[in-house]
Symmetry: D2
């Protein structure tokens, strides 16, 4: 990652049958579910649950772009560590980056990003409210000195 | 089926990778998606789209019970015929029955039912509105003389 | 539950956007994913992971019937406790029962069961191998004296 | 699209509840399911079903990258037209491009691409077999004179 944001481990997920396809691997679309889990837990750990944020302010952060690069396959019953970071925080947009690593060996399975617009309750593009911006900015601060687990 | 309702073919669906699991068969939970497609198309053919119904009246028909019996496995790229019928129409409830058959041989893959309550816009149990009741009653009328395709 | 089997809490799951539908509740088919998580973790805690079991013996436990009763709705970001039990252990079949409860109040959201056949590597119905039978029988033993969490 | 490949309509799909999330729109990960449907039907219309291809040759085309841009939201019960094209055909890779348009107005909802490697039965990167290459090359031929429906 050339990006200055420091990815942090935010959740662990175990692959179920319902996530796999007949190649015995996680279906490619399901990684976007894992990205959502990572994003949600990232926000929760920043002190800003998406549910509270969207209910309080009426704002939402719909995805306008998502990209996934598939490096290695996750298989049935694998446990995975989900990493996320805020890579860029614009006035009315935010970019998250992700890595998904297999446990216990830490092998990189997937990385990617999502780009989000901020819209208000009327559906108009809107500045990210200060409360969320402050929470997110705090997470983009200097990286922790120790390596994240599983990397 | 001992039930007097006549199942009719209402849609065809082809199995994609995203529907299968690592046994190479459709994941067991995904048949409830096919039941929804069958139910929706059944209503559409009865002249009552669920979208128009719920938007116009504010009523909804949430599922209160669903059962599926798995007879044979649908596999990747199989084309399936979805059959549905109204098995019972109560004052504030409706029961749909389903069969899913493989094409072109008509082999029975899955059958089952869903039971629905009618609730109004406030979330209270409510009588099924007359417009929907009339449309559904019409479908429960005498069965067509010819056997349904694929049976 | 009139069943003698004692349900035990085996996993916790938080509802993501990808699990909900436009009624703002978990899509009815997705509870079968939660049942799978519950079943898998139940087996793991019994000392018999399904992955190891199926790889070692070539046997599988495909679902032949699944029923779900929907009591209350799980909503976005709700945390849920998943409970499972072996309700019946036949020669070549097993029946699991499930409850899904909302945290922290323990409200019952969903209950249901799945019935499984045991098949061997050739796809023939087969007796459940002794190693799995022993692990499962142990779990059907006398219930723990203290109430399970969240009930 | 600056790309010379001509997108063609290959399938139509109607949005079900199971595809939506609590914003009332199609969940962002589900568009990768639609991309798969588009890709599969594109191949079928080129005379090369993916199932036959992978069973005959043992080759597969796993996704190594997927990107989606979300322009407008598809909603419950919307009917959508799926468009696909082969944008690039390398020795051991293929790039598909996609557009998803709402019917009947043809509004662009989503576009994106997937990049695929060709691997043989042993999982090694391999040249795309001639039979598939010929079928795909034919589809990249001169565009049809009339505009595709819905554009």
């Amino acid at each position: 990652m050339s990006n200055p944001a420091s990815l942090r481990e935010v959740a662990r997920v175990r692959v179920i049958y319902g996530d796999t396809d007949q190649m015995g691997m996680v279906y490619y679309g399901n990684y976007l579910r894992y990205f959502e889990i990572a994003r949600t837990e990232f926000l929760r750990q920043a002190g800003a649950t998406y549910r509270a944020f969207s209910e309080a302010s009426g704002h939402k952060l719909p995805v306008v772009e998502a990209c996934v690069r598939y490096r290695q396959s996750a298989r049935y019953d694998d446990e995975m560590a989900l990493f996320a970071a805020i890579a860029k925080l614009g006035g009315a947009s935010a970019r998250f980056e992700y890595e998904i690593r297999r446990l216990p060996d830490g092998a990189l399975l997937v990385d990617g990003h999502t780009l989000h617009a901020c819209i208000d309750a009327a559906g108009k593009v809107s500045r990210i409210p200060r409360s969320l911006r402050d929470a997110l900015s705090a997470t983009a601060a200097p990286p922790p000195p120790a390596p994240a687990p599983g990397r």
